[in-house]
């Protein structure tokens, strides 16, 4: 569904954010992108819908190569790419319904969108999506009146409205508490599984990534240094991604006997999550 070949991004300041990244994400596959701050995670997913213009390389969404597209074709491709943001990026002064409907802007004309006269099918879909994320009783509230978890659900609903093939998720839980983070991640993975999106999730929290995401890609200084199952995140691999630190309590495999308990706890939670999904 998504194929990235030799993606390179050098900012005007001369900072090389990405150095020749190759990555393929199949339909229905969910990839967790981890790495230290400044490794290029955000740049990578922003290059996919060209919110950031890549310097070199090719990006295929389905069969369309998007780095050479003109503005109009780019907008057509963007309609098929949903995006969920770190700090929700909802339009704060609009209602939940307006925010959710804004996912259809690519399909609605200027005047219709200005007057908020969306097609009936879109409104029915918005109700269905809001029901799916559990926000039916918040439809008419303004986005800035919601809690963090509710806002991120609106963000998910807005992305679902696009009926995307590809979902880009930028640090979905960075502004949420641990419990809400888990709920949001669970919801996200459920809808990805239901609809078969190809998904990239940038995530800071290694524990959360191991818990929810089957495939992990590790990025360091703009290059991929690990691509494999979450279970393969050993202390050695985490050192390769993040640098020297005591990883024994975080690593997936219990290399150290002392950490068996911690590893077991993680394992148990993973099983519970798998059961719930």
């Amino acid at each position: 569904m998504l194929r990235i070949e030799g993606l390179t991004k050098t900012y005007r300041t001369g900072d090389a954010a990405l150095r020749g990244v190759d990555l393929t994400v199949g339909k229905g596959q969910v990839v967790g992108l981890i790495g230290p701050s400044g490794a290029g995670k955000s740049t990578l997913i922003r290059c996919v819908n060209r919110l950031v213009e890549p310097t070199a390389g090719k990006i295929y969404v389905g069969d369309t190569e998007i780095t050479g597209l003109g503005r109009r074709e780019l907008r057509r491709v963007r309609r098929r790419i949903g995006m969920i943001f770190q700090e929700y990026a909802l339009v704060e002064r609009l209602t939940v319904m307006e925010n959710v409907l804004s996912g259809r802007l690519g399909y609605v004309g200027f005047w219709a969108s200005w007057l908020r006269r969306f097609p009936e099918a879109d409104i029915a879909k918005a109700f269905a999506v809001l029901d799916r994320v559990g926000l039916m009783d918040q439809v008419d509230k303004r986005a800035d009146a919601l809690s963090g978890g509710q806002r991120q659900r609106v963000g998910i609903a807005r992305a679902l409205m696009q009926d995307p093939d590809l979902l880009l998720v930028d640090e979905p839980t960075a502004s949420l508490d641990p419990k809400t983070s888990r709920q949001v991640m669970r919801l996200l993975l459920e809808v990805c599984a239901e609809r078969g999106f190809a998904t990239i999730v940038n995530i800071h929290d290694v524990g959360l990534a191991q818990l929810f995401l089957p495939r992990i890609v590790g990025l360091r200084a703009g290059a991929i240094v690990y691509d494999g199952p979450a279970a393969g995140l050993t202390a050695e691999v985490l050192t390769r991604i993040y640098g020297e630190e005591d990883w024994t309590r975080t690593a997936a495999r219990d290399d150290d006997e002392d950490d068996t308990a911690a590893a077991l706890a993680i394992e148990a939670e993973r099983r519970i999550v798998a059961g719930a999904a």
């Binding site: 919110l51 790419i81 943001f85 339009v91 704060e92 002064r93 307006e98 802007l105």
Partner: protein, 272 residues
């Protein structure tokens, strides 16, 4: 480097280095010296005998101004209506003209920072640097005396004010919300109405109400140069030394400004 090491090895800290505190003292000293000097220049040409008789003069004029000529009010309702119209129509015209200029001037919405932005900024500066009274003088000469010249004068002066405050509000918006709308595949016009307009709405409304409030006050004096409204009545009363009428006009301006302030405050509160 206010951290220094003392002879016994302890660290000492001061807010400023000795050089910095000396520089600050010199700065304040120069400022006070300049003030004293300016005061001397200002008072050099004053005829102190006139200043000495000021209280008597003031009492004399005030005596002639009292009591206000209340029955003159009947002839003031029409100029008052004109004044309010000049302010309101002028503000509306300015809003229509200034809003696009603000979008062209804001760094994050301008189509071209090299070509278009300087033109928009020039319009804003040109409008702001000329007082409404001077615009009025020019326009009365061009358009002839009357309310129309007043409306245009108010509008021309307000474009800069509204344009400047609005473009600053546009530059301060949260770009992430704009980015999110852009990511859905929305067209540039849709990005504007969904990503930008909701964010600047409170600023837009309060800037305009504030300017309308200022314009009520400005339009009361515009008549002094022949641009219609209460100022025109004020000038003709002053010309014939009809002090009781002047008092009544000043009272009326005062009342109008208070009412407009009240309305403006109400509207602002309702929006935010």
């Amino acid at each position: 480097m206010p951290v220094t090491q003392q002879s016994d090895g302890r660290l000492a800290w001061r807010h400023l280095t000795p050089g910095e505190s000396l520089a600050r003292f010199a700065g304040w000293f120069a400022l006070i010296a300049l003030t004293v000097f300016c005061w001397r220049v200002m008072t050099a040409d004053t005829i102190w005998a006139f200043v000495a008789s000021a209280p008597a003069q003031a009492a004399d004029i005030f005596g002639r101004m009292m009591p206000p000529r209340w029955d003159y009010a009947g002839r003031l309702w029409r100029p008052l209506w004109d004044t309010i119209n000049i302010a309101t129509m002028g503000t509306l015209l300015a809003i229509v003209l200034a809003t696009p200029v603000a979008f062209l001037a804001a760094r994050n919405t301008t189509p071209s920072a090299v070509l278009v932005r300087p033109v928009a900024l020039f319009i804003i500066v040109a409008s702001r640097s000329i007082n409404a009274l001077i615009w009025g003088l020019l326009l009365v000469a061009i358009l002839g005396p009357g309310v129309f010249a007043g409306i245009i004068a108010i509008a021309l002066r307000s474009i800069g004010f509204i344009g400047k405050l609005l473009y600053e509000a546009i530059e301060e918006i949260d770009e992430r919300q704009v980015e999110a709308i852009r990511a859905t595949g929305a067209s540039p016009a849709q990005v504007m109405i969904y990503g930008i307009v909701p964010q600047i709405m409170p600023a837009f409304a309060s800037i305009n109400v504030f300017r309308w409030d200022i314009n009520i006050r400005e339009s009361t004096v515009l008549g002094l140069v022949g641009a219609g409204g209460l100022g025109l009545a004020l000038e003709s009363s002053l010309n014939v030394l009809a002090w009781p009428q002047v008092t009544l006009i000043l009272l009326m301006i005062f009342a109008t400004v208070i009412v407009s302030e009240l309305i403006a405050a109400k509207i602002r509160k309702a929006i935010i």
